[in-house]
């Protein structure tokens, strides 16, 4: 038992509350907002290393034994995810000091931001599936508000789609939960795993498969997989970059996390059906996402579609369903969170400098902002899978697994999509950085005179260094991923840890 497990949930909550209570002083909110991310980072780091040491940590909230109370579990996967959350939190919290204005601060940006982190961490740490729903909602509602904060027209249109589709997803999740409880009479995921493994009746198995599809849909919407992804490209380009960055880094990943969690722990009776379905969907997701990225002409829309595409990669590992494949997925998620968040942060600076996100109106940044250019290149090339950045290893391992499992079509698609990704990243580079700034447009400012401030750049530097570090330190990092993959593939350990040998 260690209460450190609950820290990644409670620290952001505490700071969220403090920010909420200090609604009279935006200055205080800024300070609290940033300090909160630092404190969270320290706690998360502590939990991460503790988990690394003990493999799995369990906390029975309220001292109630599982499966009756709610249990928090930090296995390697959860530990990694919560650490990444706090890193993103730190980077975006820092960045927000520069990029979030007085108004948004006054209307509770920092409180929302911390509540979002709370929801995300809760989702990663809980071992109770209804509790997962609650954390999802915490995360979603904060994201709804952050998305709509500002109330511009485009933002409204984006937010509406985002909200409505996510509400549908929540409804599906809840319905699935109801049926799940009806069948198994329990909500603890480890307990569910035990009970589902005991089922031998045909009709029950069929119902569970249908249920698996419902969960796939509910989490799939959040993860933005094909054909449920629409909300993401429709909305992610509308809020300020700091907000889009934290969304892009974390929100869909929570969906992916949940998919991986339930499809390695609970729904593993009929992998021939469920995991093949996931694999097929992952390919379609990769393709559709990258197609979108290829045809967009706006900086952040390209990035948004890329998220979709990358989700496909993450699910590919789940679909292949071997320890290595899961490790590859986990590694992909790690890589993606660092890189995607960073790209959105960069996009914010680019938009700030160019006063537009339209690629046709941007240009000339390579010459005027070489530092920014490099800082864009690192995550962009990582995303495109250029070695030795993290993205290369992420793709490499997936491809390796796909070949080992003889899924040649899947590998082929993954490779082609990788090329298309490179294409669209280069498109961004060519249009925003290499191309000379279009001269005659009146709304293009003189970029050269703009000065970048430290809170704008340093978080980008931080994330870029981490991307490089993950690539350089691929050995130990992938070793952790591999341990995670093995742990996910063999849930017995998780189950005994949670249920205490029940």
């Amino acid at each position: 038992m260690t209460n450190l497990l609950v820290a990644p949930i409670l620290i952001p909550m505490l700071f969220g509350i403090l920010c909420l209570l200090s609604f009279k002083s935006t200055r205080l909110q800024r300070i609290l907002g940033f300090v909160g991310t630092i404190v969270l980072f320290c706690a998360s780091l502590g939990l991460f290393f503790l988990t690394l040491k003990h493999e799995i940590l369990v906390l029975h909230i309220g001292s109630w034994p599982a499966p009756y109370g709610i249990t928090l579990v930090s296995d390697l996967f959860s530990a990694i995810m919560q650490l990444l959350t706090s890193i993103v939190g730190l980077a975006v919290g820092w960045y927000s000091l520069a990029m979030i204005g007085e108004q948004r601060t006054a209307f509770g940006f920092y409180a929302l931001f911390h509540f979002l982190l709370m929801g995300v961490n809760g989702s990663f740490l809980t071992a109770d599936i209804f509790n997962l729903y609650v954390w999802f909602e915490v995360m979603l509602i904060s994201s709804f508000v952050m998305m709509a904060l500002g109330g511009e027209r485009a933002q409204m249109a984006g937010a509406l789609k985002y909200v409505v589709i996510n509400l549908i997803s929540s409804a599906i999740f809840l319905a699935a939960l109801g049926i799940l409880y009806g069948i198994a009479g329990t909500l603890n995921m480890a307990d569910l795993a035990v009970k589902f493994s005991q089922i031998d009746s045909n009709s029950s198995r069929a119902l569970i498969s249908a249920l698996a599809v419902l969960f796939l849909a509910a989490f799939g919407i959040k993860a933005a997989i094909f054909p449920l992804f629409f909300w993401l490209p429709a909305s992610y380009h509308t809020p300020p970059a700091a907000i889009a960055a934290v969304f892009s880094g974390l929100l869909t990943k929570v969906g992916v996390y949940a998919l991986i969690r339930v499809f390695t722990l609970i729904f593993i009776q009929d992998t021939g059906f469920t995991h093949t379905l996931i694999l097929v969907l992952s390919c379609l997701t990769m393709l559709i996402g990258v197609f979108g990225a290829m045809v967009q002409h706006e900086f952040r829309r390209v990035l948004s579609f890329h998220i979709v595409s990358q989700i496909g990669y993450m699910l590919m590992g789940l679909g292949l369903f071997t320890p290595l494949a899961l490790a590859a997925s986990v590694f992909y998620i790690m890589h993606h969170i660092l890189v995607k968040t960073n790209l959105f942060l960069v996009s914010g600076v680019v938009e700030y400098l160019g006063k537009t996100a339209d690629l046709n109106k941007l240009g000339g940044l390579y010459r005027s902002q070489p530092l920014l250019a490099i800082l864009f290149l690192i995550p962009a090339m990582s995303l495109a899978g250029i070695p030795p950045l993290s993205g290369f290893f992420a793709k490499f391992n997936l491809i390796k697994t796909g070949l080992l499992e003889s899924q040649y079509w899947v590998v082929g698609i993954a490779l082609i999509v990788s090329l298309f990704t490179l294409y669209s990243m280069i498109k961004l580079w060519n249009q925003a950085f290499w191309k000379p700034a279009p001269p005659l447009s009146p709304d293009v400012p003189v970029v050269q005179e703009k000065v970048l401030c430290k809170p704008m750049i340093l978080p980008i530097v931080l994330l870029a260094s981490l991307t490089i570090l993950v690539g350089v330190g691929i050995g130990p990092v992938f070793e952790i991923a591999m341990r995670t993959g093995v742990q996910l593939f063999e849930p017995a350990r998780y189950i005994t840890a949670v249920l205490g040998g029940l």
Binding site: E137, I141, A159, V163, V164, L167, L174, L177, G178, Y181
Partner: protein, 121 residues
């Protein structure tokens, strides 16, 4: 009774889905409320219903006497109700704000107004 309730749930879902697929924002909102009603009822029903005692332990007893309704789904639905209350209120405010800024609740017009007709490409 379960079958009748199941049909009722189906009917609520059907109405909800039909409303959600409208072009008018206010109708979508009604659809969402119906959807959450349907879902709450689904949780309640599919976890098994009984006409037994409500889950309150009698004054002279220390454990809940059988037969009793399952308290856990009730707690879950309660949580879900409260959450969807918050979400609905927010969605209402959002709809109102969207209507104010675009002056229409026709989603198609909202699309063209806000997107300049180019969400795609």
């Amino acid at each position: 009774m379960e079958i009748i309730l199941a049909i009722m749930i189906g009917g609520l879902y059907a109405a909800a889905v039909y409303m959600i697929l409208r072009r008018s924002l206010v109708k979508i909102l009604i659809g969402i409320v119906l959807l959450s009603q349907a879902t709450n009822m689904l949780i309640f029903v599919s976890s098994g219903i009984t006409r037994g005692n409500s889950p309150v332990i009698k004054a002279e007893e220390t454990v809940l006497s059988q037969p009793h309704a399952d308290p856990l789904p009730q707690a879950l639905v309660l949580t879900a109700i409260v959450i969807s209350f918050g979400l609905t209120a927010f969605a209402l405010a959002l709809t109102y704000r969207a209507y104010k800024s675009v002056k229409t609740d026709d989603l198609d017009k909202l699309r063209s107004a806000a997107m300049g007709g180019e969400e795609n490409v």
